[in-house]
Amino acid sequence: MSLRIIVLAKQVPDTRNVGKDAMKADGTVNRAALPAIFNPEDLNALEQALRLKDAYPGTTVTLLTMGPGRAAEIIREGLYRGADSGYLLTDRAFAGADTLATSYAISMAIRKIKDYDLIICGRQAIDGDTAQVGPQVAEKLGLTQITYAEEIQKAEKGKITVKRRLERGVEVVEGALPLVVTVNGSAPDCRPRNAKHVQKYKHAKTVTEKQEADADYLDLYDSRPYLNLTEWGVADVNAEVALCGLSGSPTKVKKIENVVFQAKENMTLEATDEAIDTLMRELILNHTIG
């Protein structure tokens, strides 16, 4: 069966290789110092979508991302790897959103897209690590959710079969479409960018980007409609401003503390049960664990 898949993706600061200036003095992330990347688990999600597209001809993969104008790069990255189209949700009113306001905005955009069978996203983003947005989107749309997916094995007769990676093993579940799947980092890596797609889509731009673009290529956007990336604001998705961005976010950060890990002492452990036992007791006693 062919599927209409929406992949939710987020542009995040690359927190995997942080340097000294990764944090600002006020304790917030210094986004300027960190390269903006495609959230790693969203890439795992995209790969699952692309595999479905390979397996079921006629399947379409649409990316949906929310962020500042430069997040259009995420859509292009998706197109380079085999996605068909994408939407950028961008508006000043979306800024400062917590997971509640984010999932609200995204769910409104999905309502606007309207036709879909499957929504796939990464389990969590490496900047916030909340793992809340996917489940909240499902809840707001009234959809079933399958979390921690490692492999979407098949899609037949209106159902998908998914292998989930759990703490103590794997579980294979079936679910009726439409539904939301969140994908685990243990799923296969995303395929590389494709040389032909990169050349085809490298000029793809949002309306805002076109205004700043090289005038040489402007006539392209009429003759090649696929190069126009859709940009939506609050009004486009019929969202209520009060529920978006900072005003729609009940989460308030009270305090941020810098934690500096310092090994003050080290000890060498004999590889015996007694030595490990002694260590465990010590750790429980000084409340490091337990």
């Binding site: 395929r191 590389p192 960018r193 040389a195 050349q199 490298k202």
Partner: protein, 570 residues
């Protein structure tokens, strides 16, 4: 994220050579493909931007997939079962990535699903892939065969086979036999035409065939019964889907172990003629070998780069006598020379690739229309330069790859002799580069006529006449002195009109030409970009001493001494 393209600024430098404008213009033929293909460029800048973007993809695949797999591929290697080859798991992952990224059929025209890239960016990819895993470059680089198929096959064959290569099917070129290695005229694999079935059948054995279980094979076989020389050989296309060829064994090699080197048995294997009868060796294989030699040059450069990086990384990290070993002159000299040889090799590689590019693009245009007189001149000039630079470049760069791999181990000391360090694999992998696709000794034979006819000297003079910044004058002066000595050596040897003596000194003469050429190329690189300065200074100092050594050998040599070297006197 490791990215081999972005971590080596030299690539970008070589990609943006002024001659690229002409190359892209010829290759894209006024950018007419843009109306037919959504991935074709609009203009020169757009094309260059596309090359860079694709090179970035390759850089990432090399750094994140191919290089991390190299060790396991080296250990596991391919396996053979029931006449069929299975690649090492890492190799399969690499191939899968390359296919998904559409990196097969890179130079093929778009009408066969290729990317229509010039040779320069293609060779740059080969350079990076080799740095990541030289053995994998063998499999991936066999897409060169599609180039030969494109040049000499008929339109029907092009349409049937090239899109399959672009979609990721692999190729092989089946030339060598147990009794036909360097001497391919002795090929005996028999091709018989069946009137009844209206096709050819191949029977016999091939040996040392890289990727021998490929999907599509180009085969050199004897089509003319009763003949014994090269004129009785034709080129054939064998499709694995038709069956008839089995792999009898996979060689247990010293290096490039991920690449299966096979012995093949042909039993009534159905095949089709590619090109004209009797031109198999004298025309097609010669063209194929030239492409392949450029590929080995790229492999050598990639290996040189890898060896340099391993050597350097160890030299700054390893502490002895209270300091990093790179602080000792004996070590830093090695490291500097490795860097210089790598940069010189790379300069040579891309200069040669540009010559091949202009020549091939014009040759391709000449199939569709008559060339203008000035275009014919251009074709002739670059064809000659490509012909001259390919053997000398392959010879020099593959020897340097070996020297660099040797020095990388030397820097590691005892640790380098252990299997724990990458330099050990590089040493084994590099060893084949100056052997296959013609040993260095055979490259010298191909290059020597360009010494005697003056192709190299004329090109060196052209380099000499370019404008250089005043601060580079000392280096330029050294190169002028080297050139004078080279010229004198050539004169001394050729004036004696003794073919055997010329053959005896040939390598010294060819190497001296190589030193002058590579010195000038580095000088030009430095002229544009100061980051090459160190390499240029080091290389020119080193190569001047090499030229002086050859000079003294030749000028001090008494013709009578030759007798002492001959087999009878040993």
């Amino acid at each position: 994220m490791a990215n081999y393209y972005l971590d080596t600024p030299g690539y970008k430098h070589h990609l943006h050579h002024p001659l690229m404008k002409r190359i892209v213009e010829l290759k894209e033929r006024n950018y007419t493909d843009k109306d037919k293909y959504d991935y074709a460029p609009f203009d020169f800048e757009d094309a260059m931007d596309s090359y860079e973007k694709v090179l970035e993809i390759v850089g990432e695949i090399c750094g994140e997939i191919v290089a991390p797999n190299a060790e396991s591929v080296d250990h596991e290697g391919p396996t053979l079962k029931d006449g069929r080859v299975t690649y090492a798991p890492g190799t399969q992952i690499n191939l899968d990535a390359v296919r998904k990224a559409s990196l097969m059929g890179i130079t093929m025209p778009r009408r066969y699903d290729g990317l229509n890239f010039p040779i320069v960016p293609y060779i740059m990819i080969a350079d990076m892939v080799s740095r990541a895993d030289a053995g994998f470059e063998n499999l991936w680089g066999l897409q060169d065969c599609a180039e030969t198929l494109y040049e000499f096959g008929n339109e029907d064959q092009r349409r049937r086979f090239i899109p399959r290569v672009c979609a990721g099917e692999t190729m092989s070129m089946d030339l060598t036999e147990p009794d036909a290695g360097s001497d391919l005229q002795s090929v005996m694999l028999k091709a018989t035409f069946s009137e009844k079935d209206n096709c050819w059948y191949l029977n016999g054995v091939k040996r040392f065939i890289t990727n021998g279980d490929a999907d599509i094979h180009l085969v050199l076989a004897r089509s003319e019964e009763g003949t014994r020389d090269g004129r009785g050989l034709s080129m054939f296309l064998y499709d694995k889907r038709d069956g008839g060829v089995n792999v009898r064994r996979i060689e247990n090699k010293m290096g490039i172990k991920g690449s299966p080197t096979c012995e093949l048995v042909y039993k009534n294997a159905k095949a089709e003629l590619c090109g004209d009868r009797k031109l198999g060796l004298i025309k097609y294989v010669m063209a194929l070998m030239n492409n392949a030699r450029l590929g080995i040059m790229a492999q050598s450069v990639g290996l040189s780069e890898a060896a340099y990086r391993e050597g350097y990384a160890y030299a700054i990290e390893r502490k002895q006598f209270g300091k990093a070993i790179i602080e000792f002159p004996a070590v830093y000299e090695m490291v500097a020379l490795m860097r210089a040889k790598t940069d010189a090799s790379r300069a040579m590689l891309y200069e040669t690739a540009r010559f091949v590019d202009v020549y091939k693009a014009l040759d391709d245009i000449s199939k569709d229309r008559k060339l203008e007189p000035e275009e014919r001149q251009e074709l002739k000039k670059y064809g000659r330069l490509a012909d001259a630079f390919t053997p000398i470049g392959k010879g020099m760069t593959s020897e340097y790859a070996n020297q660099n791999a040797y020095d990388a181990i030397q820097i590691h000391g005892g640790s380098g002799f252990m299997k724990d360090y990458t330099c050990e694999r590089l040493y084994r992998d590099a060893r084949i580069t100056n052997i296959y696709e013609g040993t260095t000794q055979l490259q010298v034979i191909a290059a020597i006529r360009h010494v005697t006819t003056g192709t190299y000297l004329a090109q060196i003079r052209e380099y000499e006449g370019l404008e250089y910044k005043p601060e580079l004058e000392v280096m330029r002066h050294k190169l002028i002195e080297m050139t004078a000595k080279y010229e004198e050596m050539v004169k001394i040897v050729t004036e004696l009109k003794d073919q055997e003596l010329l053959d005896f000194h040939a390598r010294r003469l060819v190497e001296s030409a190589g030193h002058c050429i590579m010195g000038y190329l580095l000088l030009q690189d430095t002229n544009k970009c100061d980051s090459f300065r160190h390499s240029a200074e080091v290389y020119i100092t080193y190569s001047q001493s090499e030229v002086n050594k050859h000079y003294s050998y030749i000028t001090d040599f008494d013709c009578g001494e030759l007798g002492y070297f001959k087999p009878a006197s040993l």
